[in-house]
């Protein structure tokens, strides 16, 4: 096995799928010769040719519409939106068109598009380069939303996403791109969509989280362990469809839960997770379910982002409120 960063793992998954299926196409702004502004598609155009991996004009809505047309003809497009904040430019294609094509055609068309896009804060990029907009996608029926927290998961989840017959929004956290390496098999493997991972088992508190906050939550769990609290950490991996069974089983075991997300309190998926717990496991709860989230503002200027972004200390503080309730 090789040690890979998330960037390398994603590149490896894309290479695997380009080899595996002649219908897979990669395109977007600067993904060809340049290999993507984050080098995620590095070397792929050279290896697979300009028909399979190509640069588009700088026009996001056109990229989304092109993906739809190609899907209607049986291709599996994997367009890249250069930064997920630019998704507003292609929102109609994603939320107004590809998410609805099967429904409005009475099941006659699939839309096997995987929209890849970097998102998330902590690397001193400004607003619209750092935003956590996954909640907008998760609130759109017809879309699946996948957010890996590690190189291993990124590869397995991306291969599943590309092979899925539904449109998948695959969000790659900027801070995790090169944060660490881990062992990633060079051969192909898949991780099913809609299945959370229990990253750490515990009996006193469930932390439900995803993306970069998985690592802050694991760090918080270690600190809490030192004080005698046994904390379970669940990485959702797919926020839509949500793995409600895993969440509820954990909450029924621990009786206490917090939801940790990088998105603002009004955004993300935390509110949905809390609602599911209330509807299904309220009698198991020993304390209210609390949230750790960013403030309800626009993503701030970079000098302020370390204060604005939730971190492991915020997680510990909120966890203690619930543990000591």
């Amino acid at each position: 096995m090789a040690q890979m960063t998330m960037v390398q793992a994603i590149n490896d998954a894309l290479r695997n799928e380009l080899k595996n299926d002649p219908n897979v196409l990669l395109f977007g702004e600067d993904v060809g010769v340049n290999g993507g502004v984050f080098r995620v598609t590095d070397g792929l155009q050279k290896e697979f040719g300009e028909d399979k991996v190509f640069d588009t004009p700088l026009a996001e809505s056109g990229i989304g519409g092109l993906a739809i047309g190609l899907s209607l003809q049986g291709f599996r497009p994997v367009p890249e939106i250069q930064f997920f904040g630019f998704v507003f430019e292609v929102m109609d294609s994603i939320a107004g068109q590809m998410s609805r094509m099967r429904y409005r055609s009475g099941g006659r068309y699939n839309m096997p598009v995987t929209v890849r896009s970097p998102f998330g804060g902590g690397v001193h990029t400004p607003e619209l380069h750092s935003d956590s907009l996954e909640g907008l996608m998760a609130q759109t029926p017809g879309l699946k939303v996948v957010i890996p927290s590690s190189p291993y998961d990124a590869k397995g989840l991306l291969i599943s996403s590309i092979r899925d017959n539904d449109p998948v929004i695959f969000l790659e956290h900027l801070k995790l791109y090169r944060a660490f390496r881990e062992e990633v098999p060079e051969e192909e493997y898949t991780i099913p969509l809609g299945k959370a991972a229990v990253k750490r088992e515990g009996s006193d508190l469930s932390i439900i989280t995803y993306g970069a906050m998985v690592h802050e939550s694991l760090k918080a769990a270690e600190e809490l362990e030192k004080e005698g609290h046994s904390v379970e950490v669940i990485d959702l991996r797919t926020i839509m469809p949500l793995d409600v069974d895993t969440i509820i089983a954990s909450v029924e075991k621990t009786g206490r839960a917090i939801v940790v997300q990088e998105a603002q309190r009004q955004a993300g998926i935390a509110n949905h997770v809390v609602s599911e717990i209330m509807e299904r496991a309220v009698l198991s709860l020993e304390a209210p379910v609390l949230r750790v989230a960013a403030a309800d503002t626009i993503y701030p200027f970079s000098q302020a982002e370390s204060i604005w972004l939730p971190n492991y200390k915020d997680v510990i503080e909120t966890a203690k409120k619930v543990l000591n309730f």
Binding site: D51, T56, P57, A59, S61, G62, G64, G65, L66, A67, I68, G69, L70, S71, L72, Q73, G74, F75, D92, S93, G96, Q97, R100, M101, R102, Y103, R104, S105, G106, G107, R108, Y109, N110, P141, G142, K144, D164, N165, D166, G194, P241
Partner: protein, 335 residues
């Protein structure tokens, strides 16, 4: 006797008569929809009236066995020429389960029929343009000899999706025919307030493709332009922008009152150029059509429309549970 123009285009008398019949069928379906709407039987109509010549003329210039059409909401003439039946359009008007467009899910005028390569569209205008470009790219990559034909109004030619799609097709020399059906109004806003350039076809130069303006009331003029564009596309010479100028003879939709924003004289003047009348006159002047034949065609069309109406009115609605289907792929577990 006027000059016989259709023979010069390679069109037989039978073909031009078939074109006339499709135009008439489109008009009569549309008129019936209005009656049904005004009697409270169907919720909504959005008309093709005044644009049938452009629609049918264009459709006949395409290969109706392999080309793809991405119509906009007025294109009754395009879809009936591509194989959608009056019955199917009526099923859509009544929003019945058998509606091939969407099983009653979408508004009337949101055409789609996979078997006839009529690609489903949606309500925000011009979204179909980049889809047509994607299908053309797919065809080019697979070495298929197909052309995609996409229509939109002159107001729509302001949308980003028109420009983004046209640019991509121009850069990659894709076989796309962009046809603007310029009916002079975007609901209430006249073309002078929509475009700063004189003609919609002027926009082609920005995307490296020919732009031509034709008389949208003349199906032969439109046929000639679309035929040439389709031939260019098949030769690998890239896309074409065609502007077919006609006039919207009805209000924007059954929910619109056009007396607020346009003068009755203007509409009356436009009606003297109604393509159903002028093309009928041409066919008579060239000896292709006579009164007997005209009566036969009219009878046939009315019978088709009557039968379609009766069938659709009596057809069942979709079961309510159908509303929960087709959100996610079911073979993969769905949700």
């Amino acid at each position: 006797m006027v000059e016989n123009r259709h023979r010069g285009l390679g069109l037989s008398d039978e073909t031009v008569l078939a074109m006339y019949e499709k135009m008439l069928l489109s008009r009569r379906i549309d008129e019936r929809m209005w009656l049904l709407n005004r009697s409270g039987k169907i919720p909504f109509v959005i008309s093709c009236q005044g644009q049938e010549a452009a629609q049918v003329g264009a459709a006949f210039a395409l290969d109706r066995d392999k080309d793809y059409v991405l119509p906009y909401y007025r294109d009754v003439g395009v879809v009936v020429s591509f194989g959608m039946t009056a019955k199917e359009l009526m099923l859509s008007g009544f929003a019945k389960a058998e509606d091939p467009n969407s099983g009653g899910r979408q508004m009337p005028g949101h055409f789609g029929q996979k078997s006839n390569r009529i690609v489903t569209g949606s309500s925000p205008v011009t979204t179909q343009v980049p889809h047509a470009v994607g299908i053309a790219l797919a065809g080019k990559m697979e070495g298929k000899d197909l052309v995609t034909f996409v229509t939109f109004g002159e107001g729509s030619s302001n949308q980003g999706d028109f420009h983004e799609g046209a640019n991509f097709a121009g850069v990659h020399k894709l076989p796309v025919i962009f046809m603007c059906e310029n009916n002079k109004y975007a609901i209430s806003v006249p073309i002078e307030k929509q475009l700063a350039c004189e003609k919609v076809s002027d926009r082609a130069i920005g995307y490296g493709m020919p732009g031509i303006t034709v008389d949208g009331n003349d199906p032969l003029d439109v046929y000639g332009a679309v035929k040439e564009a389709a031939d260019r596309g098949r030769r690998g010479e890239g896309p074409t922008l065609i502007e077919a100028v006609s006039y919207r003879l009805t209000a924007h939709s059954s929910d619109d009152d056009d007396r607020i924003y346009r003068a009755p004289d203007e509409v009356a003047e436009a009606k003297t150029k109604d393509p159903i009348i002028t093309f009928g006159a041409y066919l008579k002047e060239t000896g292709v059509l006579n009164d007997d034949l005209e009566e036969q065609i009219n009878k046939r069309v009315m019978q088709i429309v009557n039968e379609a109406t009766d069938y659709a009115e009596n057809a069942p609605y979709a079961e309510p549970e159908q509303a929960l289907k087709y959100v996610y792929a079911e073979e993969q577990g769905g949700l």
